[in-house]
């Protein structure tokens, strides 16, 4: 296995509406920022891979237009996934493993403010039996939360604690969307949005983009004395039909976590892509993380959730903390689909 490190990371500020900026202008900001961090030009990058979804902005082939932000003259080696860019990172990681690249730039972007996001996400459902009923993403999450509460796996107070911690942690990261100090009583006094979820149990709608640069050990060692290496990575998907799934468990997360080797050592930090408060509890349990692991120090998706880039951002957040020496070993997680249908888990270690 080739050792692959994350050597650069950038994220736009997490905002409800980035105004007049288009996809190209969003992507340009982070792509140029990561190149600048390590002094790379396109000649230093063997592969580019992105994650986005054209339904978010409502414009066809937005990901092709976004190539303007890369400077694809002379032509570059590029690929795209219609998923969170964490899966684009997986593709880039594979490309490096196969020896076809030593470096790769991975980016994701989402201008979610242009449409009605919970409704737009309905289009990822099965088109025959489920999508025509228009269950939106919040309602589906509410079904899962209700099942967990009913099974006695979590309480509403547990969910409020996740929100409280997210808002508090988000204060120490610049550019987060939702932050502040709240008491559990304050949070529980809020009205329900879609029962049992309150508004703060749901992710905000966020515009933005993020990017990372991957490199082999030989390249990485030129930039940082200490690097954050991906020592394990795996992703699993559950059945598309919600009725076929056990919603009070996250089997795909558990299997991916085992394959990535999460339990092989102490996990100092974990950035979990859990857009709904209850999901952090479920994923934490599926990964077997204890209370000695600091979860979502960045505030996580409840503090700002750029669709198609939030999972990738988790890799950047964990890597930067490892590079700075704040942690030795961390977990980055990404999810996709309704109710945690698909999950990607990676272990990053400082060396």
């Amino acid at each position: 296995m080739r050792e692959v490190a994350i050597i650069a990371y950038a994220q736009t500020p997490l905002v409800r509406d980035c105004g007049a900026k288009n996809d190209v202008e969003l992507v340009m900001e982070v792509v140029n920022a990561v190149k600048h961090q390590v002094g790379f030009t396109n000649q230093d990058l063997d592969f580019f891979c992105s994650g986005s979804c054209d339904y978010l902005g409502g414009s066809a082939f937005a990901f092709v237009n976004a190539l303007d932000a890369l400077g694809a003259v002379p032509p570059i080696n590029e690929s795209h996934v219609e998923m969170d860019a964490a899966w684009a990172l997986y593709e880039a990681w594979l490309k490096i493993q196969t020896g076809h690249a030593n470096t790769a730039l991975v980016y994701g972007f989402g201008k979610c403010s242009q449409g009605d996001l919970p409704d737009v996400l309905t289009l990822q459902l099965d088109p025959y039996y489920t999508q025509p009923l228009w269950p939106d993403s919040i309602s589906l999450a509410a079904l899962q939360a209700r099942a967990l509460l009913d099974a006695g796996k979590i309480t509403e107070e547990d969910m409020a604690r996740v929100v409280q911690k997210s808002r508090r942690n988000a204060k120490s990261k610049p550019g987060t969307q939702l932050k502040g100090d709240y008491t559990i009583e304050q949070l529980l006094a809020e009205p329900k949005l879609v029962s049992p979820l309150r508004k703060h149990d749901c992710p905000p709608v966020t515009d933005g983009a993020s990017a990372v640069i991957l490199a082999t050990r030989e390249v990485a060692e030129k930039f940082h004395k200490r690097n954050a290496y991906i020592t394990g990575i795996d992703h699993r998907i559950e059945a598309h039909q919600l009725g076929s799934r056990n919603l009070i468990d996250s089997m795909s997360t558990r299997i991916a976590g085992e394959a990535a080797g999460v339990a092989k050592g102490k996990v100092d930090i974990a950035e979990l892509h859990t857009p709904f408060s209850y999901q952090e509890l479920l994923v934490k349990q599926a990964l077997g993380l204890g209370d000695d692991t600091v979860i979502n120090a960045s505030g996580g998706p409840l503090a700002g959730n750029i669709m198609m880039s939030a999972g990738l951002s988790n890799f950047g957040e964990v890597a930067m903390r490892i590079i700075k020496g704040e942690a030795n070993r961390g977990v980055a997680h990404a999810t996709s689909g309704p109710c945690l249908q698909q999950n990607l888990v990676a272990v990053l270690e400082g060396k």
Partner: protein, 180 residues
């Protein structure tokens, strides 16, 4: 055929999603110009080339373009095709000409219609000028130009045009370096 044997061949699942589309900073500037009957390109800070219509980035370097360059509404046909199929959303009667044009003073082509002459007379290198719609119809749209029509000037050699544009970009970069 019995009800049981009938195949379900069609179900209707209407999808309606509304979007608040934003063109982006650079396209917004360009479309504001179009509303006033002006064509405004943007110059790449790296290559000195002028991009029209702009998308916000220099596609060669990925750097933001900010310097605006007013452009005339005259252009050269770089290549073209005669379309014999109707466009579902257009009232155009086939056959009509879709051309790849480059505005004078610009380095990037764009697609528009060429008309105002017999289709057979359109040639690569032909000089054309915008035929604007009536000002009362102008919106934030490329559509304000109904089509491009021949100017009657002699045709241009495309390779010579490309070479002169590259020289122009080099001159611009040299002048920029000198002022620094």
């Amino acid at each position: 055929m019995s009800e049981q044997a009938k195949k379900v061949e069609l179900i209707e699942c209407p999808i309606v999603l509304n979007y608040n589309f934003s063109a982006g900073r650079a396209p917004t500037q360009f479309l504001r110009g179009m509303k006033q009957g002006k064509l405004i390109g943007q110059r790449s800070p790296l290559t000195g080339k002028v991009i029209a219509p702009p998308r916000g980035a220099c596609p060669e370097s990925g750097l933001p373009t900010t310097e605006e360059v007013p452009l005339p509404d005259t252009a050269t046909v770089i290549t073209f095709t005669i379309v014999h199929l109707p466009i579902p959303t257009s009232a155009l009667e086939p056959p009509f000409i879709v051309a790849n044009l480059v505005l004078d003073g610009s380095d990037q082509t764009f697609i528009h219609l060429v008309s105002g002459c017999a289709n057979e007379d359109v040639k690569i290198g032909m000089r054309v000028k915008a035929k604007w719609k009536d000002q009362s119809e102008w919106d934030y749209s490329m559509d304000n130009i109904a089509y491009f029509e021949p100017t009657g000037e002699p045709p241009v050699d495309i390779e010579a045009l490309k070479a002169s544009r590259l020289e122009e970009a080099k001159r611009f970069l040299k002048a920029k370096a000198e002022t620094k």
